[in-house]
């Protein structure tokens, strides 16, 4: 049975939803899935996993990505893995190319589909930020791929039957010395299931309060931005959605005061549901929106925020 190794991210032993999605994707191509975990609290995570036959917990400090990659590649080798999967998070996208290189393998990043075809693997992945979709076959010694968030269903089943200690993580050439965390509860635009984005139609940076208020009314939403407002310095670049920002696939994307340049559309067109609020009826954003409201965002958004708050308070 071909073994698939999955790097599962967790926070103090609580697996991230994306980690469970990666296990779900792995189960779709193999019965024999091995989860590998690292970092503070990793030993608590296996009991909370689903879909893995086995969990390997790396020993020691996980603050050096190059040293972590060496340990991950060692586990891939000792488990005889045919595939190595990670989520396309900032951590996964940093580690996976290193692990792939150590395994003499190429990498397929940010995949939205994964299939097994006899002895080879086929992935689906967007190019040009999603303007075209490619099917690519890997003949790497080990299929190495990162998976887009919010695309694969999480695995089901019980916790792994066996949990073992993996190799110790050595000393690396680069080491994380500090983390300046975002405000508590602030979600990244690429991981949130609801994204509320604002553009130049908001006219001034302080008007992003409207966007933030709507995002907090949803509770599970992240704030996004168009390139124009990031370039103007209104918002941090980490919030930029589009071809030179992040590509997102949330359940709900609300574009407010964003006209919809092709580079922006490429970054959000795979959202399940798109809502656009814009005063220009001819704006290209309405061509991809499922639901559009034409009018003044300064009137519409507060009313929408109040409605969402009312619905959520009713549970």
């Amino acid at each position: 049975m071909s073994t698939v190794l999955v790097f599962v991210e967790h926070l103090d032993g609580n697996p991230k939803r994306g980690g469970l999605e990666a296990l779900g994707a792995a189960r779709s191509i193999s019965e024999n899935v091995v989860a590998v975990l690292a970092g503070a609290g990793a030993e608590l995570a296996p009991a909370r996993l689903q879909g893995a036959a086995k969990a390997v917990v790396l020993v020691g400090d996980a603050s050096s990505p190059d040293a972590c990659a060496v340990a991950l590649a060692a586990v891939a080798k000792s488990e005889g893995a045919r595939a190595f999967l990670a989520l396309a998070t900032s951590t996964g996208r940093d580690l996976a190319p290193r692990v792939a290189a150590l395994l003499g393998s190429s990498l397929l990043s940010d995949c939205t589909g994964l299939e097994r075809n006899g002895d080879s693997f086929v992935v689906v992945r967007p190019w040009l930020a999603g303007k075209v979709i490619a099917r690519q076959r890997s003949s790497s010694p080990v299929l190495c791929a990162t998976l887009r968030r919010n695309v694969f269903g999480p695995a089901s089943g019980g916790p792994p039957g066996s949990v073992v200690a993996g190799p110790a993580i050595g000393t690396g050439k680069a080491k994380r010395t500090a983390l300046e965390a975002k405000g508590s509860g602030k979600l990244d635009v690429a991981e949130a299931s609801v994204v509320i984005s604002g553009g130049r139609g908001l006219r001034e940076s302080r008007h992003f309060k409207l966007i933030e208020d709507l995002a907090s009314a949803f509770g599970n939403a992240a704030v996004g931005a168009s390139r124009a407002v990031v370039d103007a310095g209104w918002r941090p670049h980490g919030e930029q959605v589009g071809q030179t920002g992040k590509t997102v696939s949330p359940q709900l994307y609300v574009a407010i005061g964003i006209s919809g340049a092709i580079q922006h559309l490429a970054g959000m067109k795979t959202a399940k549901v798109i809502v656009a609020i814009n005063k220009d009826r001819e704006a290209p954003i309405f061509k991809v929106a499922d639901y559009g409201v034409v009018g003044d965002a300064f009137e519409i958004v507060p009313a929408l925020t109040a409605e969402i708050q009312r619905i959520r308070s009713q549970g």
Partner: protein, 250 residues
């Protein structure tokens, strides 16, 4: 100190791509090219590092012979010389075979610092920088938004999902550059004239073997036609109702 700035020729971001007749490549007709957005930031950071610490900046690309055009643009901004690793099948090259070719060239150059863009805006892989570092056995910090180098060590801030991470690293190192790191300069007329006299070397770089094969390329699935639910505040109840009963997202 030799500093390498890696760059890739990519289609301009306003491209509306058409799938070619073979069903697995982008129709090259009418495609305009540019240096990948983040590679411009890598070139700028290489130049700033040279201005602080001295040394020579080498602009390195893997592409068609014609990619000397993008390399000349780097020379016009202040890079000292350029190298084009020429592979006519450059656009099909996978990340691993690209990283292997760059590794060999970086070793030949005896460089201590390599700057890459965070991601190339064509294939969106974000892989070659960390792969190159791994093959070289060097340190690597990716998605860097602030950088300090002093002597044989440096610190870098990295934009991560959970916040801003700080890394301490030793040289030699590969740094992949994210948007906030700097504001790339424009080439002046003097620079453009000077660039004409700077050397650009073309080195044949056949691909020893791709591990990735593109089977097919297709436009993204078309979205179901949407509708305007109304105008102004009066449309809010209808929007809420649609999101609740039809789309079932709230």
């Amino acid at each position: 100190m030799n500093i390498v700035a890696c760059l890739k020729r990519v289609p301009t971001t306003d491209l509306v791509p058409k799938v070619g007749a073979d069903g697995k490549s982008i129709d090259a007709a009418g495609v305009q090219y540019m240096t990948s957005f983040y590679d411009e930031i890598a070139v700028e950071e290489a130049l700033r590092t040279k201005e602080k610490l001295g040394g020579e900046v080498i602009a390195l690309t893997l592409g068609p012979s014609d990619a000397s055009k993008e390399v000349r643009e780097c020379l016009a901004k202040g890079a000292d010389r350029g190298i084009v690793l020429v592979d006519p099948a450059w656009s099909d090259r996978d990340a691993y075979s690209t990283a292997l070719a760059l590794k060999q060239q970086v070793e030949t150059l005896g460089a201590k610092l390599v700057f890459c863009g965070r991601v190339a805006t064509d294939r969106d892989q974000a892989s070659v920088g960390p792969m190159l570092a791994t093959l070289l056995g060097w340190a690597c910090v990716s998605d860097v938004i602030a950088l300090e180098i002093s002597g044989d060590a440096g610190t870098a801030k990295r934009e991560a999902d959970g916040g801003i991470e700080t890394y301490a690293f030793s040289l030699p190192a590969v740094i992949t550059c994210q948007k906030a790191l700097n504001e790339p300069r424009y080439a002046g007329l003097k620079g453009i004239m000077a660039a004409k006299k700077k050397p650009v070397e073309e080195v044949p770089c056949p691909n020893p073997g791709n591990q990735v094969e593109t089977l097919s390329l297709a436009p993204p699935p078309a979205r179901k036609a949407g509708r305007i639910v109304g105008e102004g505040v009066a449309a809010v109840p209808a929007l809420i109702e649609a999101l609740r009963s039809e789309a079932k997202v709230i």
